[in-house]
């Protein structure tokens, strides 16, 4: 290899490294991150984007360069050089991906631990649990509780260290709505209101088919499975209104199964909670979910079968 070639290769390698480092952190492909969990996952994604951009540029560059530089001359009917392999080179390109995926696995494991994935309360199968009495009577709509304890994300180690008590909220997914029950007050709502800075623990279940609870701005998703309960924990940080999306195909109106996550100040949250309590004690028969439903769902409400009886049953179940 000539010195000029070596210099060219080094310059190109540095160029690829600079572009990858820059693009990996400035891709702008993710929505706002509104919780530390989301930031941890974003750090991981950016890191993967840096590596992916580097490999992308390397391989596409190689292919394009080869296709131009090594095209056959019209008059040349001979074969290329009979190079059948190169053990050193093959070890290098087996080794580099091995190291990359090892680093990625360890980094991913770290992030997964940071966001509470290894919390034993949420991560372990603790064997058969006694079936709750009420659920058995709700035949048809509610599946009986399963033999499994919650699975998903538990309280994060950081929050555990701070000894914060998480606010526990039950999420029940049905075709095609989410219902949020606040066990402390008995409030049932169709939107998820949470106070900023307060660690949240969602207990997610489903009433009919499998759904999934997903908030893109939290970067978190957990399937809601009939007969099982799953957990998802996060600490909301940035006030605002964000979409809650059902991410698992659940029927023809799956695309309309959306609602909002509202992260608000402690005062606003308490005011909202009080208002809900008053409203619900005034008229227990009111269709909570329907009147609060987001605009997309409402036009389909009748087709969807979200009727009064269903909501009453749900409320009876969740209380």
């Amino acid at each position: 290899m000539t010195t000029a070639n070596k210099i060219t290769i080094i310059v190109l390698a540095i160029l690829i490294a600079i572009i990858s480092l820059w693009y990996g952190q400035n891709h702008g492909l993710l929505p706002a991150a509104v919780a530390p969990e989301a930031e941890a996952i974003d750090g991981l994604f950016d890191f993967m984007m840096i590596i992916a951009t580097g490999l992308f540029l390397l391989i596409q560059g190689l292919l394009i360069y080869t296709a131009i530089r090594f095209r056959r001359k019209p008059s040349d009917d001979t074969d290329g050089p009979p190079i059948e392999g190169n053990v050193a080179l093959e070890i290098v390109w087996t080794g580099i991906p091995t190291v990359i995926v090892l680093i990625l696995s360890i980094y991913s494991f770290e992030v997964y631990s940071t966001i509470g994935g290894l919390n034993p309360k949420a991560a372990k199968d603790e064997g058969p649990q006694p079936v709750a009495e009420e659920t058995q009577s709700e035949q048809g709509l509610m599946a009986s509780a399963s033999d499994y304890l919650a699975l998903g994300l538990g309280e994060s180690p950081a929050n555990q260290a701070k000894n914060l008590t998480p606010l526990s909220i039950d999420v029940n997914a049905i075709q095609y709505a989410f219902l949020f029950t606040y066990p402390d007050t008995g409030v049932v709502a169709s939107e998820l209101h949470v106070p900023v800075g307060q660690p949240i623990q969602l207990n997610i279940s489903a009433g009919d088919v499998i759904h999934a609870f997903w908030v893109p701005q939290l970067r978190l998703k957990q399937d809601a499975i009939p007969g099982r309960e799953a957990q998802l924990s996060f600490t909301p940080e940035k006030p605002g209104t964000y979409p809650i999306i059902c991410a698992e195909l659940c029927g023809p109106y799956h695309g309309a199964m959306k609602t909002n996550l509202i992260i608000e100040s402690q005062q606003d949250y308490e005011a909202w909670l009080q208002q809900q309590q008053v409203a619900q004690s005034e008229s227990l028969d009111n269709a909570v979910a329907l009147e609060n439903s987001n605009s997309l769902l409402t036009p389909y409400a009748n087709q969807l079968g979200v009727n009064q009886q269903l909501l009453d049953e749900l409320k009876a179940y969740s209380q």
Binding site: L55, I59, D79, I83, W93, Y112, S146
Partner: protein
Amino acid sequence: MTTPVSTSQTEPQRNWKDYFTFNTDHKVIGIQYLVTSFIFYLIGGALAAAIRTELATPESDFVDPEVYNQLFTVHGTVMIFLWIVPAGAGLANYLIPLMIGAKDMAFPRLNAVAFWLIPVGGLLLMASFFIEAPQAGWTSYPPLSLTMGQVGEEIWILSVLILGTSSILGAINFLATIIKMRIPEMGWFDMPLFCWSMVATAIMVLLSTPVLAAALIMLSFDLLVGTSFFDPNGGGDPVVYQHMFWFYSHPAVYIMILPFFGVISDILPVHARKPIFGYRAIALSSLAISFLSLIVWAHHMFTTGTPAWLRIFFMATTMAVAIPTGIKVFGWCATIWGGKLRLNSAMLFGIGFVSSFVIGGLSGVMLASTPFDLHAHDTYFVVGHFHYVLFGGSVLGLFGAIYHWFPKMTGRYMNEFWGKVHFWLTLIGLNITFLPMHELGLEGMNRRIAIYDAEFQPLNVVATLGSYLLAVSTFPFMINVVWAIFKGQPASGNPWKALTLEWQTSSPPLIENFEEEPVLWCGPYDYGIDVPPEDQQSVQELLSEVKTDMGR
């Protein structure tokens, strides 16, 4: 070993009618597979165009929401079970006996049965549109699949069971043929790499497909007679279905891509005029992928009710797939590096395959990471990812294979100009269609929806336009094939000056493949080794020399 002496003049010729009969010639069956699966590709493509048309607007306006779910359910099922899997089987049928110097497959009648199950399963699935189409997605998760219409769901189950049976029968045949019917001089490491990739594919099919069959039969019981294997209302567990389903369906992804890894490993050396770089590494990495594919299934279930140890274990195994895959990709790059590239349609599709597949591979490693998958699972990021693998990978590989082996199959060349038009339309179309999907998914668009947030419309319009370009791109190909069959420039037995055995017979090959048993006079990729440039002879001349030497 002697073969009946017959010259090509008196050799009976294939009649077009043979292709519509229960014929046991592997070459007829191979072409039957390819043509049948291509017809289903057009059907699956039409369904995709309808899906993209619905998604051009955020509202549900082009079709009913139920119909939309039917469209993507049948689109997925058709493209997997009726296009890529059988098209790979078609190539394997056509090529394996020729590549190993055999007269036919090990079990010719079983082979014909395997093929004829395809139109049966396919027509059954198509009939569902006139009775009741399935609409629970190609994954058909219970309990949803148990509630969306009994008839449509059962048609889907039966159809997939029939197609799965066909796949198992084919795999038995490929393995038996490769193990038992190679010419005696051909050791395992003298085989073309396509044969290696089919060994790996067949092992996966045989180990995983029966598990899918079991899951579908249990689902049928739940659906028809009210058992509760998977129905939580009766104490069943829907997550068990997901484990069984993905135990097959993850290997299925490799069942769909490995044959085309083999195709590319065969196309690139021929048109680069250089040996494949690292033959053994590429051959054995196919087996490594085959083994790993059996222990990665739960990466489809990171957001399901799965415990942490399982999520971490499957993350690590999934990431490990990048290692054998990387060996292949770098091996391909090194193969063409420094060669004398003939940039014809086959080669362009070969290079295009590597380029597009790499994008799907990189996003695949990202998705393997459990925390990131919590965000990306079931979004358009995943849709973009697997279309880069299955369209950018498998479909480009398949087109490359057709341009490469068309002269062998028909004795005529395809038109190069229109081949290149086809290539560029396909490559540009696929990137316009599938690249924006990554961003859509990351920004918050989930998959399998007819109704989406208006902020996602611009990128969806781009994807829709790209899909129309892909639809257009099939026309130059179809016209080219039909034109070439009748009017294409005649091709010799070895138009590409390739070294594997299928090129040692006439084009198209005789009914029993070789006039006499072919001779292995060099390795499959010994380009530039045995033929010094100053003393170049045609393969035929060399062949006859070798024959004289051996006293035949």
